[in-house]
């Protein structure tokens, strides 16, 4: 028998797989950069300040929605009602935004409150009623769309005040307001997820609901919180959209939830919950936005655009997961 090496040896440090980890961590950023480089080579108009600002403005609505649904997905849920909430909040806000009626504050409050209310209803039915999130929010998708049509009588709500239209069309320090709003949402959402107890609990609930509960976390209130954030941001997105197109459109926002969920998944958040980052979602939204923009610049017909967009989205995720 060999008794010589009785003392535990020190573990050798092992650094070789570090590069692989780095790539895994930044894979989606690399994919984004690749797409940008390709587009810069393919079209001279891509890398111009004007175009970049346009892309950012275009993605801000999807970006805001995607950040909201990031919370829900990390906590292990899903929200399919976003697009309809965008329409409902837009129409409702617009109804209070005719010139010389309620000013700016009331329509904003109405739009946001509608989002928050729908989030609360979704969250309560999912947690207290124990109905699957997929079903609840699928139902809410139709209900909210119906409400938008009922409230507006199926007609666009136009003739809105200048101050209301400023939200979607205006600029501050040469930066379009939607981009500033998007930036603020990114900042606040990142801080909540990383630096608050609630944010940490969102991950725990999505990672293992039972363990979260056993650790003293009120699982239901965390889930409710994520649905409220998600729909609340959809309310905000609805206001921005209505303001940008200067109309409350009951048919707006169809399938927006899918683009938002795509951005989240491209950004590395797993649909099974428990992990994910806001910055990933932002890059995901950027990738979708840049693809749309690039295909426009390349004069590709909108029919073919859909095919190419789909391929690039799946390809980007594939590149990311390859490691």
């Amino acid at each position: 028998m060999n008794f010589k090496n009785l003392l535990p040896p020190k573990l050798p440090a092992d650094h070789s797989p570090a590069i692989a980890i780095q790539f895994k961590k930044y894979g989606i950023f690399i994919a984004f950069l690749l797409i940008c480089i390709l587009l810069t080579i393919a079209t001279p108009n891509f890398l111009t300040l004007q175009n970049i600002v346009m892309v950012l403005r275009q993605i801000s609505i999807n970006g805001i929605l995607a950040i909201g649904v990031t919370f829900v997905i990390i906590s292990g849920g899903i929200d399919l009602s976003l697009g309809s909430v965008v329409a409902l909040s837009g129409v409702a806000a617009a109804s209070f935004a005719h010139p010389g009626t309620y000013g700016l504050f009331v329509p904003l409050l109405v739009g946001l409150l509608i989002g928050v209310t729908i989030g609360t209803v979704n969250g309560l039915i999912i947690t207290k009623g124990k109905v699957a999130a997929f079903i609840v929010t699928l139902g809410m998708m139709t209900i909210a769309r119906g409400l938008a049509l009922v409230v507006s009588d199926g007609r666009p709500v136009s003739n809105l005040s200048d101050s209301f239209n400023f939200i979607g069309g205006g600029e501050f320090l040469n930066i379009p307001i939607p981009i500033l709003l998007f930036g603020a949402v990114i900042l606040i959402a990142s801080v909540i997820l990383k630096y608050t107890k609630t944010g940490r609990y969102v991950y725990a609930v999505g990672g293992n609901e039972n363990a979260a509960k056993a650790s003293g976390i009120n699982v239901n209130s965390i889930k409710l919180f994520t649905y409220i954030i998600c729909s609340g941001l959809a309310g905000l997105a609805g206001i921005v959209l209505a303001s940008r197109i200067t109309t409350g459109q009951p048919n707006a926002g169809v399938a927006y939830e899918l683009d938002a969920i795509a951005a989240v998944v491209i950004g590395g958040t797993s649909l099974s919950g428990g992990s994910g980052k806001i910055i990933g979602t932002v890059v995901g939204a950027l990738i979708i936005g840049v693809i749309n923009n690039g295909l426009d610049l390349l004069n590709i017909t909108s029919y073919s655009q859909q095919i190419i967009k789909g391929l690039i989205i799946v390809g980007a995720v594939l590149l990311d997961r390859k490691n």
């Binding site: 028998m1 060999n2 008794f3 090496n5 009785l6 003392l7 535990p8 040896p9 573990l11 050798p12 440090a13 092992d14 070789s16 797989p17 570090a18 980890i21 801080v191 990383k194 630096y195 608050t196 107890k197 940490r200 991950y203 725990a204 990672g207 293992n208 039972n210 363990a211 979260a212 509960k213 056993a214 650790s215 003293g216 976390i217 009120n218 428990g274 992990s275």
Partner: protein, 495 residues
């Protein structure tokens, strides 16, 4: 060629980011023998088994089966070669039936291609299960089975695959004594048929009972291999931990203080009329067979299960505990017996798991102080000697025993006055066990009140000041430390 050995692993190395899990390990497995592999948590036992099972690829080294070099690239290939594994963390298909689980990937076909001959499958499954002495309806869903029954299914699966080497990674960690006895008789039978068993366990007594050969691993290295009768327990322990451990339990006489917890007529779905007091400085043991209701009792005190009737008093005040959150507020902590379900968020980092119940401690106003959190977590990692490449490592990638330590670290961090330990040392190596026992005795000395549930009678006897014995959901006896013996406990527990 006719080798005396079935399976040989030569110079196997495997690294993960930040750890060298295996370093040039050799292993020779002979037919008809039980070869035990033992070593501290994180020594690399499960990793080596995963390599033999085709789940992980080695960085270097080779595997020979009956004298022929084999490359095991997948579980299917390992099974085809003749190797099966009963995992440390069982991985069955919960919604499928017992028969479907046994024949997964190996279904008896019928004349129509692609169709499964269900009748034959069920018949064969029933035959196999009967042979193993488990009389169960093989059309029952896997999720309804106890862990022991699931293990039987896994063994049946290994036999149906005609495996000649069966790996069992800590098979008894969730079994009752009676179930362990059944498992051992099955192992005996398998040995008779020339099948080799690779057996991993941290339980000394059973290792000496069941093994023929023993291999000790430490820090990813092969330390020694010898026949079981060539070594005694003391020498084995020193080989495992690399130092001598004199007494595992070091129980001091202490005088319990005032009553901190009392439950009266506590009744739940699986237990009734439970009455007891718990004093500061006291360690109260709860013994009983698995399924006797012990876990349900403590879970309901912790708010994880519903209380039908009865009251809980803390410091003489009646409290309502509806959720673990209420329990924590009332200064109760629980180390659950089911670490995968109630203990860990596997996809989160070690650090975040440890701090999960105590984020209040690392807060500056509204915001978390991540630096402080890191320090607090690292202090716990050092204190409990948790083996991890960093505090940011995902809990999922730690060895079983180190995962258990995370759960304990999390609960301890909460500074509860009443701490319930349900099978606290499940899967924990002998060195760490003695550390945890020391910690528990120290907590009691500091005036905390502890409840310990354990299926390992030496653990209950070594730690407790007083022992309650549960049978069929009722307290059947209370023994003081002085009068308690293994026999007496078993007598009351089985009756």
């Amino acid at each position: 060629m006719n080798q005396p050995w079935l399976l040989k692993a030569e110079n196997i190395s495997k690294s993960f980011p930040g750890v060298k899990a295996l370093d040039k390990v050799n292993l020779t497995i002979e037919g008809g023998k039980v070869h035990t592999i033992i070593g501290e948590n994180g020594a690399g036992k499960s990793t080596l088994m995963k390599i033999l099972m085709g789940i992980l690829l080695p960085d270097e080294g080779e595997i020979l089966y009956k004298g022929v070099k084999v490359k095991l690239m997948s579980v299917q290939e390992a099974i085809k070669t003749g190797i099966s594994m009963i995992h440390q963390e069982l991985l069955p298909f919960p919604e499928l039936s017992i028969a479907e689980n046994i024949f997964m990937g190996n279904e008896p076909t019928s004349r129509i291609p692609g169709w499964i001959n269900k009748r034959e499958m069920n018949k064969n499954a029933a035959l196999l299960m009967n042979k193993l002495g488990a009389k169960v309806d093989v059309t029952r869903a896997m999720k309804e089975l106890s862990i022991a029954e699931m293990q039987m299914v896994e063994i049946a699966k290994a036999i149906s695959n005609q495996s000649e080497v069966i790996i069992m990674d800590e098979p008894t960690s969730a079994l009752s004594n009676r179930e362990i006895a059944i498992l051992f008789s099955i192992i005996e039978e398998l040995k008779q048929q020339g099948i080799a068993i690779i057996y991993i366990s941290h339980k000394m007594d059973e290792i000496f009972k069941i093994s023929d050969t023993i291999t000790v691993m430490r820090d990813g290295k092969h330390i020694t291999t010898c026949a079981i009768n060539a070594i005694d327990q003391k020498k084995l322990i020193s080989l495992i931990v690399g130092r001598e451990i004199n007494s595992i339990f070091d129980k001091k006489e202490n005088t319990p203080g005032e009553v901190i917890l009392s439950v009266t007529e506590l009744t739940g779905e699986k237990f009734k009329d439970i009455n007891f007091n718990l004093r500061r400085g006291e360690i109260l043991g709860i013994a009983g067979l698995m399924g006797s209701g012990r876990t349900e009792i403590v879970n309901s005190i912790y708010g994880l299960e519903k209380i039908v009737k009865g009251d809980i008093f803390i410091n003489g005040k009646k409290v309502k505990i509806r959720s673990p959150k209420d329990a924590i507020k009332n200064s109760i902590g629980l180390v659950s017996e089911d670490r995968k379900k109630y203990g860990l968020v596997l996809g989160s980092s070690v650090k975040h798991n440890i701090s999960l119940s105590s984020l209040e401690k690392c807060k500056n106003g509204l915001f978390l102080n991540l630096k402080e959190e890191n320090e607090i977590a690292n202090a716990q990692i050092n204190k409990l000697n948790i083996k991890t490449s960093s505090s940011d490592q995902l809990a999922n990638y730690l060895s079983g025993g180190n995962q258990q330590k995370i759960v304990i670290a999390k609960v301890l961090l909460n500074d509860a006055d009443i701490i319930i330990f349900d099978e606290p040392t499940r899967g924990i190596d002998i060195g760490a066990k003695s550390e945890i026992y020391k910690l528990m005795t120290q907590l009691a000395t500091e005036g905390k009140a502890l409840i310990v549930i354990s299926s390992e009678l030496p653990e209950i006897l070594g730690l407790s000041d007083r022992i309650l014995i549960i049978r069929e959901g009722e307290i059947k006896a209370e023994l003081s430390q002085a009068e308690a013996t293994q026999e007496l406990i078993m007598k009351h527990a089985m009756a």
